[in-house]
Protein backbone atom coordinates (compact mmCIF):
# COMPACT_ATOMS: atom_id res chain seq x y z
CA UNK A 1 0.00 0.00 0.00
CA UNK A 2 1.31 3.44 -0.86
CA UNK A 3 0.45 6.72 0.82
CA UNK A 4 -2.17 7.34 -1.78
CA UNK A 5 -5.54 5.69 -1.97
CA UNK A 6 -6.21 2.90 -4.44
CA UNK A 7 -7.80 4.13 -7.65
CA UNK A 8 -11.12 2.51 -6.78
CA UNK A 9 -11.37 4.58 -3.59
CA UNK A 10 -10.33 7.77 -5.37
CA UNK A 11 -13.04 7.09 -7.92
CA UNK A 12 -15.68 6.45 -5.28
CA UNK A 13 -14.78 9.67 -3.46
CA UNK A 14 -14.97 11.75 -6.61
CA UNK A 15 -18.33 10.18 -7.56
CA UNK A 16 -19.57 11.00 -4.06
CA UNK A 17 -18.36 14.58 -4.44
CA UNK A 18 -20.22 14.89 -7.75
CA UNK A 19 -23.41 13.48 -6.20
CA UNK A 20 -23.15 15.89 -3.28
CA UNK A 21 -22.76 18.82 -5.68
CA UNK A 22 -25.85 17.77 -7.64
CA UNK A 23 -28.25 16.43 -5.02
CA UNK A 24 -26.72 17.62 -1.75
CA UNK A 25 -26.74 14.06 -0.44
CA UNK A 26 -24.74 10.85 -0.75
CA UNK A 27 -26.56 8.07 -2.65
CA UNK A 28 -27.18 4.85 -0.70
CA UNK A 29 -25.14 2.72 -3.09
CA UNK A 30 -22.10 4.88 -2.40
CA UNK A 31 -22.59 4.42 1.31
CA UNK A 32 -22.76 0.65 0.81
CA UNK A 33 -19.52 0.70 -1.20
CA UNK A 34 -17.89 2.75 1.53
CA UNK A 35 -18.94 0.22 4.17
CA UNK A 36 -17.80 -2.65 1.95
CA UNK A 37 -14.32 -1.14 1.57
CA UNK A 38 -13.76 0.29 5.04
CA UNK A 39 -16.02 -1.83 7.30
CA UNK A 40 -16.89 -0.34 10.66
CA UNK A 41 -14.48 2.56 10.11
CA UNK A 42 -16.91 3.88 7.50
CA UNK A 43 -19.73 4.20 10.04
CA UNK A 44 -17.43 5.78 12.62
CA UNK A 45 -16.02 8.21 10.06
CA UNK A 46 -19.51 9.25 8.90
CA UNK A 47 -20.38 9.75 12.55
CA UNK A 48 -17.38 12.08 12.99
CA UNK A 49 -18.50 14.02 9.92
CA UNK A 50 -22.07 14.27 11.27
CA UNK A 51 -20.76 15.68 14.52
CA UNK A 52 -18.60 18.19 12.62
CA UNK A 53 -15.47 16.88 14.33
CA UNK A 54 -13.10 17.77 11.49
CA UNK A 55 -11.34 21.14 11.42
CA UNK A 56 -9.18 22.47 8.62
CA UNK A 57 -6.56 24.66 10.26
CA UNK A 58 -4.63 27.13 8.15
CA UNK A 59 -2.16 29.93 8.74
CA UNK A 60 -1.44 33.07 6.65
CA UNK A 61 1.48 31.18 5.05
CA UNK A 62 -1.00 28.95 3.20
CA UNK A 63 0.13 25.79 4.97
CA UNK A 64 -2.65 23.74 6.54
CA UNK A 65 -3.39 20.62 8.56
CA UNK A 66 -6.51 18.84 9.80
CA UNK A 67 -7.49 18.14 13.36
CA UNK A 68 -10.09 15.54 14.20
CA UNK A 69 -11.84 15.38 17.55
CA UNK A 70 -12.06 11.64 18.26
CA UNK A 71 -15.02 9.98 19.96
CA UNK A 72 -12.95 9.67 23.14
CA UNK A 73 -12.55 13.45 23.27
CA UNK A 74 -8.91 13.32 22.21
CA UNK A 75 -7.77 15.43 19.25
CA UNK A 76 -5.69 13.87 16.47
CA UNK A 77 -3.61 15.61 13.82
CA UNK A 78 -3.90 14.56 10.19
CA UNK A 79 -1.53 15.83 7.52
CA UNK A 80 -3.15 17.56 4.61
CA UNK A 81 -0.74 16.37 1.91
CA UNK A 82 -0.21 12.67 2.63
CA UNK A 83 -1.55 9.86 4.75
CA UNK A 84 -0.63 10.48 8.32
CA UNK A 85 -2.68 10.52 11.50
CA UNK A 86 -1.30 10.77 15.02
CA UNK A 87 -3.77 8.21 16.45
CA UNK A 88 -2.74 4.76 17.77
CA UNK A 89 -4.92 2.90 15.24
CA UNK A 90 -3.01 4.48 12.36
CA UNK A 91 0.30 3.39 13.92
CA UNK A 92 -0.92 -0.15 14.53
CA UNK A 93 -3.45 -1.18 11.89
CA UNK A 94 -2.26 0.95 9.00
CA UNK A 95 1.51 1.22 9.49
CA UNK A 96 2.55 -1.84 11.47
CA UNK A 97 0.05 -4.47 10.36
CA UNK A 98 -1.06 -3.08 6.99
CA UNK A 99 -4.55 -4.36 7.84
CA UNK A 100 -6.38 -1.21 6.90
CA UNK A 101 -5.96 1.53 4.33
CA UNK A 102 -6.88 4.38 6.63
CA UNK A 103 -7.94 5.12 10.17
CA UNK A 104 -11.42 6.54 10.75
CA UNK A 105 -9.98 10.04 11.23
CA UNK A 106 -8.31 10.18 7.82
CA UNK A 107 -11.43 8.71 6.23
CA UNK A 108 -13.48 11.37 8.02
CA UNK A 109 -11.17 14.06 6.60
CA UNK A 110 -11.76 12.76 3.05
CA UNK A 111 -15.51 12.48 3.63
CA UNK A 112 -15.76 15.95 5.11
CA UNK A 113 -14.05 17.30 1.98
CA UNK A 114 -16.54 15.42 -0.18
CA UNK A 115 -19.50 16.60 1.88
CA UNK A 116 -18.07 20.06 2.41
CA UNK A 117 -18.64 20.00 6.13
CA UNK A 118 -15.19 20.97 7.38
CA UNK A 119 -14.93 23.44 10.20
CA UNK A 120 -12.34 26.10 9.41
CA UNK A 121 -9.90 27.73 11.77
CA UNK A 122 -7.22 30.34 11.12
CA UNK A 123 -4.14 30.42 13.33
CA UNK A 124 -0.83 32.28 13.21
CA UNK A 125 2.17 30.76 11.42
CA UNK A 126 3.82 30.18 14.79
CA UNK A 127 0.75 28.38 16.14
CA UNK A 128 0.64 26.13 13.08
CA UNK A 129 4.28 25.17 13.71
CA UNK A 130 3.38 24.12 17.25
CA UNK A 131 0.43 22.10 15.98
CA UNK A 132 2.61 20.27 13.46
CA UNK A 133 5.10 19.57 16.26
CA UNK A 134 2.40 18.08 18.43
CA UNK A 135 3.94 14.63 18.20
CA UNK A 136 7.02 15.72 20.12
CA UNK A 137 5.01 17.22 22.91
CA UNK A 138 2.95 14.09 23.38
CA UNK A 139 6.11 12.07 23.82
CA UNK A 140 7.76 14.46 26.20
Amino acid sequence: MAVTLPAVVEELLSEMAAAVRETARIPDEHLSSLKFIFGSSAIQALDLVDRQSITLISSPSGRHIYQVLGSSGKTYTCMASCHYCSCPAFAFSVLRKSESLLCKHLLAVYLSQVMRTCQQLSVSDKQLTDMLLIEKKQEA
Partner: protein, 260 residues
Amino acid sequence: MRPRLDRDVLRMAETLRRVLSRGSAVGTGEDTAEVGPPLLLLGAPGSGKTALLFAAALEAAGEGRGPVLFLTRRPLQSLPRGIGGALDPLRLQKIRFQYPPSTGELLRLLCSAHEAPGPAPSLLLLDGLEEYLAKDPGPQEAAYLAALLLDTVAYFSHRRGPNRDCGLMVALQTQEEGDNGNALQLALLQRYFPAQCWLQPDAPGPGECRIRACLEPSGLGPRTEWCVTFQPDGEMKITRWPTQACDPSSDKSSSSGDQP
Protein backbone atom coordinates in the same frame (compact mmCIF):
# COMPACT_ATOMS: atom_id res chain seq x y z
CA MET B 1 -5.64 17.60 -0.35
CA ARG B 2 -5.63 14.75 -2.90
CA PRO B 3 -2.15 13.31 -2.59
CA ARG B 4 -0.24 14.09 -5.75
CA LEU B 5 0.98 10.87 -7.20
CA ASP B 6 -0.46 9.71 -10.51
CA ARG B 7 0.46 12.72 -12.55
CA ASP B 8 3.94 12.62 -11.08
CA VAL B 9 4.85 9.00 -11.07
CA LEU B 10 5.82 8.65 -14.70
CA ARG B 11 8.08 11.64 -14.39
CA MET B 12 10.04 9.47 -12.01
CA ALA B 13 12.48 11.63 -10.25
CA GLU B 14 13.23 13.85 -13.20
CA THR B 15 16.04 15.60 -11.47
CA LEU B 16 17.93 12.44 -10.70
CA ARG B 17 17.29 11.09 -14.14
CA ARG B 18 18.65 14.27 -15.62
CA VAL B 19 21.70 13.84 -13.46
CA LEU B 20 21.94 10.20 -14.46
CA SER B 21 21.39 10.82 -18.13
CA ARG B 22 23.66 13.84 -18.38
CA GLY B 23 26.53 11.60 -19.49
CA SER B 24 24.54 10.13 -22.36
CA ALA B 25 23.66 13.62 -23.62
CA VAL B 26 19.97 13.27 -24.39
CA GLY B 27 18.16 16.15 -26.07
CA THR B 28 16.68 19.00 -24.11
CA GLY B 29 13.15 18.39 -25.40
CA GLU B 30 11.86 17.35 -22.02
CA ASP B 31 9.86 19.73 -19.93
CA THR B 32 12.31 20.73 -17.26
CA ALA B 33 9.63 22.30 -15.08
CA GLU B 34 8.43 18.89 -14.02
CA VAL B 35 9.61 17.18 -10.87
CA GLY B 36 9.25 13.52 -10.12
CA PRO B 37 7.71 11.84 -7.10
CA PRO B 38 9.60 11.78 -3.80
CA LEU B 39 12.71 9.67 -4.30
CA LEU B 40 14.57 7.50 -1.81
CA LEU B 41 18.25 6.93 -2.57
CA LEU B 42 19.42 3.70 -0.98
CA GLY B 43 22.88 2.21 -0.61
CA ALA B 44 25.58 0.93 1.70
CA PRO B 45 28.22 3.27 3.13
CA GLY B 46 30.46 4.58 0.37
CA SER B 47 28.04 3.79 -2.44
CA GLY B 48 27.97 7.38 -3.67
CA LYS B 49 24.71 8.62 -2.13
CA THR B 50 26.10 11.99 -1.04
CA ALA B 51 27.87 12.49 -4.38
CA LEU B 52 24.64 11.86 -6.30
CA LEU B 53 22.58 14.10 -3.98
CA PHE B 54 25.15 16.85 -4.39
CA ALA B 55 25.15 16.39 -8.17
CA ALA B 56 21.34 16.61 -8.15
CA ALA B 57 21.58 19.82 -6.07
CA LEU B 58 24.02 21.39 -8.55
CA GLU B 59 21.88 20.27 -11.49
CA ALA B 60 18.71 21.77 -9.98
CA ALA B 61 20.58 24.96 -8.98
CA GLY B 62 21.65 25.37 -12.60
CA GLU B 63 18.08 25.25 -13.88
CA GLY B 64 17.20 28.66 -12.52
CA ARG B 65 13.99 27.44 -10.94
CA GLY B 66 14.83 28.72 -7.47
CA PRO B 67 17.00 27.85 -4.50
CA VAL B 68 17.86 24.32 -3.40
CA LEU B 69 17.67 23.30 0.25
CA PHE B 70 20.22 20.67 1.33
CA LEU B 71 19.78 19.19 4.80
CA THR B 72 22.43 17.04 6.41
CA ARG B 73 23.56 16.33 9.95
CA ARG B 74 27.03 17.85 9.54
CA PRO B 75 28.90 19.93 6.99
CA LEU B 76 30.58 18.06 4.17
CA GLN B 77 34.26 17.64 5.07
CA SER B 78 35.24 17.79 1.42
CA LEU B 79 33.52 17.99 -1.91
CA PRO B 80 31.94 14.68 -2.82
CA ARG B 81 33.75 12.53 -5.34
CA GLY B 82 33.19 13.50 -8.93
CA ILE B 83 32.33 17.13 -8.29
CA GLY B 84 35.86 18.57 -8.31
CA GLY B 85 36.42 20.37 -11.60
CA ALA B 86 32.77 20.96 -12.49
CA LEU B 87 31.96 23.26 -9.59
CA ASP B 88 30.32 26.51 -10.60
CA PRO B 89 30.34 29.04 -7.74
CA LEU B 90 27.12 30.64 -9.03
CA ARG B 91 25.34 27.31 -8.75
CA LEU B 92 26.81 26.62 -5.34
CA GLN B 93 25.44 29.94 -4.09
CA LYS B 94 21.91 28.79 -4.85
CA ILE B 95 22.25 25.78 -2.56
CA ARG B 96 21.33 26.54 1.03
CA PHE B 97 22.90 24.06 3.44
CA GLN B 98 21.36 23.53 6.86
CA TYR B 99 22.68 21.18 9.51
CA PRO B 100 19.99 20.12 11.98
CA PRO B 101 22.03 18.44 14.75
CA SER B 102 19.26 16.19 16.08
CA THR B 103 15.96 14.61 15.10
CA GLY B 104 14.17 17.19 17.22
CA GLU B 105 15.88 20.04 15.37
CA LEU B 106 15.08 18.48 11.98
CA LEU B 107 11.40 18.11 12.94
CA ARG B 108 11.33 21.72 14.14
CA LEU B 109 12.91 22.91 10.88
CA LEU B 110 10.31 21.05 8.79
CA CYS B 111 7.36 22.06 10.96
CA SER B 112 8.35 25.72 10.79
CA ALA B 113 9.30 25.74 7.08
CA HIS B 114 6.34 28.07 6.41
CA GLU B 115 7.83 30.66 8.78
CA ALA B 116 11.07 30.97 6.79
CA PRO B 117 11.28 34.07 4.61
CA GLY B 118 12.46 34.13 1.02
CA PRO B 119 11.60 32.16 -2.10
CA ALA B 120 10.49 28.55 -1.63
CA PRO B 121 13.03 25.93 -2.75
CA SER B 122 12.67 24.01 -6.00
CA LEU B 123 14.29 20.94 -4.49
CA LEU B 124 14.63 19.61 -0.95
CA LEU B 125 17.44 17.14 -0.27
CA LEU B 126 18.13 15.23 2.92
CA ASP B 127 21.33 13.23 3.33
CA GLY B 128 21.66 10.55 6.02
CA LEU B 129 18.02 9.93 6.95
CA GLU B 130 19.23 6.98 9.06
CA GLU B 131 20.95 9.41 11.42
CA TYR B 132 17.60 10.99 12.21
CA LEU B 133 15.79 7.71 12.80
CA ALA B 134 16.39 6.57 16.36
CA LYS B 135 17.90 3.15 17.03
CA ASP B 136 14.52 1.47 17.06
CA PRO B 137 11.89 4.03 16.13
CA GLY B 138 8.27 2.98 16.27
CA PRO B 139 6.50 3.00 12.93
CA GLN B 140 4.75 6.19 13.90
CA GLU B 141 8.00 8.11 14.48
CA ALA B 142 9.45 7.08 11.11
CA ALA B 143 6.14 7.76 9.36
CA TYR B 144 5.85 11.15 11.07
CA LEU B 145 9.27 12.23 9.77
CA ALA B 146 8.53 10.91 6.25
CA ALA B 147 5.08 12.54 6.22
CA LEU B 148 6.54 15.85 7.44
CA LEU B 149 9.10 15.81 4.62
CA LEU B 150 6.27 15.27 2.13
CA ASP B 151 4.12 17.93 3.77
CA THR B 152 6.99 20.41 3.67
CA VAL B 153 7.58 19.95 -0.08
CA ALA B 154 3.80 20.06 -0.67
CA TYR B 155 3.81 23.43 1.09
CA PHE B 156 6.85 24.63 -0.92
CA SER B 157 5.04 23.55 -4.11
CA HIS B 158 1.94 25.46 -3.03
CA ARG B 159 4.01 28.58 -2.43
CA ARG B 160 5.81 28.24 -5.76
CA GLY B 161 2.55 28.13 -7.68
CA PRO B 162 1.08 25.93 -10.42
CA ASN B 163 3.48 23.69 -12.36
CA ARG B 164 6.42 24.76 -10.24
CA ASP B 165 6.44 21.88 -7.78
CA CYS B 166 9.26 21.34 -5.33
CA GLY B 167 11.07 18.00 -5.62
CA LEU B 168 12.24 15.75 -2.77
CA MET B 169 15.21 13.38 -2.59
CA VAL B 170 16.27 11.58 0.57
CA ALA B 171 19.33 9.36 1.04
CA LEU B 172 19.15 6.41 3.42
CA GLN B 173 22.02 4.12 4.34
CA THR B 174 20.98 0.50 4.06
CA GLN B 175 21.93 -1.97 6.76
CA GLU B 176 22.90 -5.60 6.94
CA GLU B 177 20.41 -8.07 5.55
CA GLY B 178 18.12 -10.04 7.82
CA ASP B 179 17.47 -7.21 10.22
CA ASN B 180 13.75 -7.33 10.79
CA GLY B 181 13.40 -3.95 12.39
CA ASN B 182 15.05 -2.37 9.39
CA ALA B 183 12.95 -4.33 6.92
CA LEU B 184 9.80 -2.97 8.55
CA GLN B 185 11.21 0.55 8.60
CA LEU B 186 12.22 0.35 4.94
CA ALA B 187 8.81 -0.99 3.89
CA LEU B 188 7.23 1.89 5.75
CA LEU B 189 9.46 4.51 4.15
CA GLN B 190 8.74 3.04 0.72
CA ARG B 191 5.07 3.88 1.19
CA TYR B 192 5.95 7.55 1.43
CA PHE B 193 8.65 7.46 -1.27
CA PRO B 194 7.15 5.86 -4.37
CA ALA B 195 10.39 5.99 -6.36
CA GLN B 196 13.61 4.39 -5.21
CA CYS B 197 17.14 4.35 -6.50
CA TRP B 198 19.36 1.51 -5.30
CA LEU B 199 23.13 2.04 -5.40
CA GLN B 200 25.56 -0.85 -5.43
CA PRO B 201 29.33 -0.67 -5.68
CA ASP B 202 30.45 -2.73 -8.66
CA ALA B 203 33.81 -4.37 -9.28
CA PRO B 204 36.03 -1.32 -9.89
CA GLY B 205 38.81 -1.06 -12.40
CA PRO B 206 42.25 0.04 -11.24
CA GLY B 207 42.10 3.49 -9.66
CA GLU B 208 38.43 4.05 -10.33
CA CYS B 209 35.21 3.33 -8.52
CA ARG B 210 32.10 2.11 -10.22
CA ILE B 211 28.53 2.25 -8.85
CA ARG B 212 25.52 0.49 -10.31
CA ALA B 213 22.37 2.62 -9.88
CA CYS B 214 18.98 1.01 -10.35
CA LEU B 215 16.07 3.42 -10.60
CA GLU B 216 12.61 2.05 -9.78
CA PRO B 217 9.78 4.46 -10.48
CA SER B 218 7.29 2.70 -8.18
CA GLY B 219 6.11 0.08 -10.61
CA LEU B 220 4.51 2.45 -13.08
CA GLY B 221 7.49 3.02 -15.33
CA PRO B 222 10.36 0.96 -16.59
CA ARG B 223 13.16 0.12 -14.21
CA THR B 224 16.40 1.56 -15.55
CA GLU B 225 20.01 0.88 -14.72
CA TRP B 226 22.88 3.30 -14.80
CA CYS B 227 26.59 3.11 -14.31
CA VAL B 228 28.21 5.85 -12.22
CA THR B 229 31.98 5.92 -12.47
CA PHE B 230 34.31 8.03 -10.36
CA GLN B 231 37.50 8.28 -12.32
CA PRO B 232 41.00 8.69 -10.88
CA ASP B 233 41.00 12.40 -11.87
CA GLY B 234 37.91 12.93 -9.71
CA GLU B 235 35.41 13.24 -12.52
CA MET B 236 32.02 11.55 -12.33
CA LYS B 237 30.73 9.84 -15.47
CA ILE B 238 27.24 8.46 -15.85
CA THR B 239 26.27 6.04 -18.60
CA ARG B 240 23.45 3.57 -19.20
CA TRP B 241 24.24 0.12 -17.87
CA PRO B 242 24.99 -2.16 -20.82
CA THR B 243 22.06 -4.52 -20.18
CA GLN B 244 18.68 -2.81 -20.24
CA ALA B 245 16.74 -4.39 -17.40
CA CYS B 246 17.86 -5.26 -13.91
CA ASP B 247 18.02 -8.99 -13.47
CA PRO B 248 17.22 -9.63 -9.81
CA SER B 249 18.67 -13.15 -9.96
CA SER B 250 22.05 -11.79 -11.01
CA ASP B 251 22.61 -9.35 -8.20
CA LYS B 252 23.02 -11.42 -5.09
CA SER B 253 23.38 -8.62 -2.61
CA SER B 254 20.20 -6.67 -3.25
CA SER B 255 17.42 -9.07 -2.37
CA SER B 256 15.55 -6.11 -0.95
CA GLY B 257 15.44 -4.38 -4.32
CA ASP B 258 12.00 -5.70 -5.17
CA GLN B 259 8.88 -4.31 -3.70
CA PRO B 260 6.52 -6.73 -2.00
